[in-house]
Amino acid sequence: MILHVDSVVMAIIIGIFSIGLIWLVARKATSSVPTKTQAFVELIFGFIDSQVSAIFHGNRHTFIAPAALTVFLWVLMMNAMDFLPIDIMSKFYGFLGLHEWKHVPTSDVNTTFGLALGVWFLMIFFGIKAKGLRGWLHEFFCEPFGAKIWVWPANFLFNLIEYVSKPLSHSLRLFGNMYAGEVIFLLLGLWAATGVSGIFFSSILGAGWAIFHILIVVLQAYIFMMLTVVYLAMAQEGH
């Protein structure tokens, strides 16, 4: 049994940090004039809430919206670990006695696939909860081509592909982006080690990639959150 301690520990620390931070604000949330911190948290809250309400037309406050908030913040913060310069941080981790410590959990496919799998189970759970086991199985065999018995295999195949491809695309999109980002930073670092021209070009390109990475980090967190919401909403509302 292999466990990537770095991914798990970093993910838990980041999760406690990010969710705990807004929990501290939410605990003392007032309905009167909010503090600046509360206003900022409410900004995030409002953003998530409006995104979810546009997609999901049910009681979103019991589960989907909080889940979306968790996913967005957690993934965003895990992605944002990529902003820390890898060379300095590896020195720091080496000083702590942690060699080959990777601090971006989302550049580990296990993390992204773990999240996607969690969403996948939730999707099945909510699908069965909303339609009943019969309805869910019926949909599995009778969508999208119809209820005739001779199209059942085709329907089943289509749904199987859909159910397999959803978590795969969900997780690999995030993983691919974050992994590639890290690899490019590493390659630029290697190039910088080759000489003066390497330092010159890699610093310019590194700055450009870092700026672009700010966009990628937020965008991938947003996409991951939106896909989570879309999958869960689709599971409850049918095709």
């Binding site: 605990r27 309905s31 009167s32 409410e42 909080p66 968790t70 696939f113 773990g114 999240l115 969690g118």
Partner: protein, 156 residues
């Protein structure tokens, strides 16, 4: 791509985080925001209501002001009328009084005149008598007097 137990650990962490957010983070924020929204809506409604009542009060005010103005104008008119009436009656009374005074004065003057006349008459008669006495004592012309007496006698 080496999937391993990390996957399960991350999924469990994910589930716990979602549960935590669901229980402790989302509800208080939602409550606070919804309460504030309600408060703002109530405040706006109250402001609207206040504005309306203000308008009603202003209308009422204007109406009562108009009424009061009308009333005061009426009162002023009445007072003026009453004042002129008083002045008229006073004039009348004064005139009557004056007339009375004049009349009484006139009658008094008449009385005075009469008395003076009486007195004068009395004095004139005494004067005439005394004069006559003096004249009589001085010259008595028997002839003349006889003629006069005879004439008087004739006239009788």
């Amino acid at each position: 791509m080496n999937l391993n137990f990390t996957l399960i650990a991350q999924a469990i962490a994910f589930a716990i985080l979602i549960w935590f957010t669901m229980k402790f983070v989302w509800p208080p924020l939602l409550k606070a925001i919804e309460k504030r929204q309600k408060e703002i809506a109530d405040g706006l409604a109250a402001a609207q209501e206040g504005k309306l009542s203000l308008e009603v009060a202003a209308e009422k005010n204007a109406a009562s002001l108009k009424e009061v103005k009308q009333k005061s104008a009426e009162i002023v008119n009445q007072a003026e009328k009453r004042a002129s009436e008083i002045v008229e009656s006073a004039k009348k009374v004064a005139k009557e009084e004056g007339d009375r005074i004049i009349a009484s004065a006139k009658s008094e003057i008449d009385q005075e005149i009469n008395r003076a006349k009486e007195e004068l008459r009395a004095q004139v008669s005494t004067l005439a008598i005394s004069g006559a006495e003096k004249i009589l004592t001085k010259e008595i012309d028997k002839k003349v007097h006889a003629d006069m007496l005879s004439k008087l006698a004739k006239d009788l």
